[in-house]
Symmetry: C2
Subunit: 128 residues, 2 copies
DNA sequence: CGGTATCCATTCCGATACTG
DNA sequence: CAGTATCGGAATGGATACCG
């Protein structure tokens, strides 16, 4: 429903129906790899397409390109192309808007960590 | 990818690989209607299946049942059945764990509201 | 190197109908 | 009323190939 949610909120907004603020936010980072991309761009700074792909070893070329395109369209990420010696290099960076999502993502990290610890302690994963 | 993400994090966790805390949190509420269900259960309190469905006028019976089942399995929601005069009534409430997600959801609401205002002011939606 | 298009398997989800 | 099963169309996403 990732893309579906993005389309859904965009359509709502175009119809001037703004009653979807949390869904809109969710649609910003619920795409495949999006959270991780944002997270890495924040902590590691500007990166090239291939650098990002190497970081996300399971990410498909196609999917990564698509997600970066959406992140750019949504204003969370900027693209900068450089061409030298017939070699193209594309650099991606977080925008201020993208950075402003980090507190939420950090909170999600904290919540998840605590929750997983609690479940582990409760023995729900049969780890011990 | 909603369900895919849920499966993905569950598999990772079962393999004792806990390096997916933010994805795990995301998978808690990124299912169809999940955020809205949590939001309403928090603000309106315990509700029956049909009450929830009436609130989410576009929600399918099947989808709602499935999402509530997942929310229950994830420990965010509790189910209580009551049968009187051959009539079944199922009540859903938020658990403490479910409530602990609210700050994040409220932050998502705030972020989305501000962002949509900023875009509107910038004229990106051609509203004026 | 980075981006896009095509093809195809898999998954999602709505409609419908059937149980207790 | 609440939950589940089935079916079929739609959307997702991987593999691959092909442009700049």
């Amino acid at each position: 429903m990732t893309d579906a949610l993005r389309k859904y909120t965009q359509e709502k907004i175009q119809k001037k129906d703004f009653d979807c603020a949390k869904e809109y936010t969710l649609s910003m980072f619920s795409g495949k790899y999006k959270i991780v991309i944002i997270y890495h761009l924040f902590h590691d700074g500007t990166m090239r397409f291939n650098q990002i792909q190497r970081l996300l070893d399971d990410a498909t070329h196609k999917m990564l390109a698509q997600q970066l395109k959406e992140l750019t369209a949504d204003g969370l990420v900027t693209r900068r192309e450089e061409i030298a010696n017939n070699r193209k290099a594309t650099y991606y960076s977080l925008t201020a808007t993208g950075e402003s999502l980090m507190p939420i993502i950090e909170d999600m990290f904290t919540w998840g960590t605590k929750r997983l610890e609690a479940l582990e302690l409760a023995g729900n994963f049969k780890l011990h």
